[in-house]
């Protein structure tokens, strides 16, 4: 027989107390681990699907601007010394230090044209990157993909009286309306989109780009770092971060992370308190028994060890049960709470960390009651002293 035998017998003997501590530890580990996995899954989901949330960086030509006002009345402005951007800049953007974090670069050439007697703003785009970037677009008709295709915004289509399949003449080139965008509520409703190469040729601006929309994500660095790197490589361009859906989601995930942190800390504190109170109560109920141990020669450290072993055994079993629960519930929880489709599995490192953490927390909560037990006098074995 060893001290551990005494500890484990006690765990079995005080079943209600053991069950309470077990459930508290298991619930704490399950909740904290599940919340951690949900948060990590949401972050990973955001990294993987950042292009679904649109661009978060815009690169435009650097220009000098002179605002004009007279007597406090704004009368317009002057833009001068504009150095246009070019298609080669795509390689420059992708070549930055955090280039692997660049998901998409969507170049655009903006100009205007008279179509059927109506002046419209035209945007030359690379269909593949543009459609990947604007996942929220709903196209009535067919999705544009070829050089002869045109995509109209909802209001532009109504002004021009055009619909899917209609021919349209732009600067003398006969093109076809492949589709019309459902209303987006943005400026896009007034635009005529056409192929970038065709636009560069029709406006005689070969290789020229008005601006780039960039979808980038970096889990370990702020998006400002990527901005700074692009700015450094393209001193002739102005790079701006755009707070769009991805950033909003990042903020939301950040808030969720904070919430989970607070909840986890609360769970751990409540768990600690329950372990502490139930252990103190158990020590109080076993004063006579501890007195016997002390009277037969057990040192204070032996009593300390017995109490700690009891709680650590429960922490180990409770921790494993909690991890099992977390492994089962975190995926549906992530789907329900964060709309995450692919969740992160429970890795061996997570498993080891969670177990070590639960052991350490229970150890910390048990130190005071174990100390109280160790300080009990052997005379407690003699009820009449």
């Amino acid at each position: 027989m060893r001290l551990s035998s005494i500890a484990f017998r006690n765990v079995r003997r005080h079943l209600w107390r053991s069950a309470l501590v077990f459930v508290v530890i298991a619930a704490s580990v399950a909740v904290v681990t599940s919340l951690y996995l949900v948060t990590r899954s949401a972050e990973r989901d955001l990294e993987n699907k950042v292009d679904e949330y649109g661009a978060n960086i815009v690169v435009v030509p650097r220009s000098e601007e002179l605002p004009l006002s007279y007597g406090g009345v704004q009368v317009g402005g002057l833009t001068y010394d504009v150095e246009p951007l070019h298609m080669d800049d795509i390689a420059v953007i992708r070549g930055i230090e955090n280039g692997e974090n660049i998901n998409l670069v969507a170049p655009k050439l903006v100009d205007s044209a008279e179509v059927g007697g109506v002046r419209v703003l035209t945007v030359g785009v690379d269909w593949a990157s543009e459609l990947s970037l604007k996942r929220w677009w709903t196209v009535v008709g067919t999705s544009p993909s070829g050089a002869g295709d045109v995509l109209l915004g909802d209001r532009a289509a109504r002004h021009l009286g055009l619909g899917p399949g209609d021919p349209v003449e732009v600067r003398g080139e006969r093109l076809t309306v492949a589709g019309v965008l459902e209303p987006t509520g943005t400026q896009e409703d007034d635009l005529l989109f056409l192929d970038l190469g065709v636009a560069q040729r029709l406006w005689d601006r070969p290789d020229e780009v008005s601006f780039f929309e960039v979808a980038a994500w970096c889990a370990t660095c702020p998006i400002e770092d990527i901005n700074a790197q692009i700015s450094a490589e393209m001193p002739y361009a102005r790079v701006s971060a755009v707070l769009k859906a991805a950033e909003s989601r990042r903020i939301l995930i950040g808030q969720f992370r904070l919430f989970t942190l607070v909840l986890s800390v609360l769970m751990v504190l409540v768990g600690c308190l329950i372990v502490l109170v139930s252990t103190l109560s158990s020590v109080r109920a076993r004063r006579g028994e501890i007195g016997i141990f002390r009277s037969v020669g057990y040192r204070r450290q032996h009593i300390f060890k017995i109490i700690l072993l009891e709680n650590l055994a429960l922490a180990l079993v409770g921790g494993l049960a909690g991890l099992l629960v977390a492994a089962v519930v975190h995926a549906p929880m992530a789907r329900a709470v964060a709309q995450v489709r692919e969740t992160m599995p429970l890795s061996p490192t997570d498993l080891a960390l969670a177990l070590v953490a639960s052991l350490l927390v229970v150890l910390a909560a048990s130190l005071y009651p174990a100390g109280r037990a160790a300080a009990l006098s052997p005379t407690l074995a003699m009820k009449r002293v």
Binding site: R294, R300, M382
Partner: protein, 232 residues
């Protein structure tokens, strides 16, 4: 040199506002192989004296030497070691640990030792008090009162301590079981152990070598059982 030497022990409880003196300058010696009974009415201080003899309750003043070692000069941890090496206790309610088997109760003092052969040693001691291995596997609640008493004695002697302290060992037992316990204590004394038993029952002192009578915290008589008659 006596095995147990108590010199001018005084024990007070409470604070200055409410002080109770449990023992007044008690001095006595107990030799190896001696079977002594401490007798006295309730509240006379006999259990306090036993707890002081057991290295469990430091006196307010005075000293206790066991085998020449000044017990209360030792650290608490060394006092625990001394209890394990020198003293075996038999408590009033026997105080067996209810969730451990009889064998495990006997092994209790050995559990903190690293040496092997603990189980064999415990079985041998159990056999000496008449408990076989099969009964040793039972919980205390599954044993008769007499068997529980014998297990308590086995636990007290499993370390082969030179001193056995018994606190009212027959107080809660029927006459037959009590007789068995007293016989065991006599056997231990005959085997060379110093046995000190606290009792308030004169019938328990029939076999003792010596009666130490305590009244109001002082030794009022220290002689053979025939000479220290206890007023009930």
């Amino acid at each position: 040199m006596a095995l147990i030497e108590v010199d001018g022990v005084r024990k007070e409880y409470g604070d200055a506002a409410c002080r109770v003196v449990a023992l007044h300058e008690v001095s006595l010696e107990v030799e190896a192989g001696e079977y002594a009974a401490i007798m006295g009415p309730s509240g006379s201080g006999k259990t306090t004296l036993l707890s002081i003899l057991g290295a469990m309750n430091p006196p307010t003043s005075g000293s206790l030497r066991i085998d020449g070692i000044d017990v209360y000069d030792l650290s608490q941890e060394r006092q625990a070691d001394l209890r394990r090496e020198y003293i075996g206790f038999v408590f009033q309610q026997l105080e067996l640990v209810p969730y451990l088997s009889a064998l495990e109760n006997v092994m209790l003092p050995l559990a903190i030792l690293k040496e092997g052969g603990k189980r064999e040693r415990a079985l041998e001691v159990l056999a000496r008090v008449g408990i076989d291995e099969q009964k040793g596997r039972r919980l205390p609640s599954e044993l008769s009162g007499g068997e529980q008493g014998r297990v308590a004695i086995a636990r007290a002697i499993v370390n082969d301590p030179p001193i056995i302290l018994a606190d009212e060992p027959v107080g809660s037992l029927d006459t037959s079981t009590g007789r068995q316990i007293l016989d065991q204590l006599r056997t231990l004394a005959d085997g060379g152990h110093a046995v000190v038993m606290v009792t308030h029952n004169p019938d328990s002192t029939a076999d003792v070598d010596r009666v130490i009578q305590i009244l109001d915290g002082s030794v009022s008589c220290d002689d053979g059982p025939k000479f220290c008659a206890i007023p009930n």
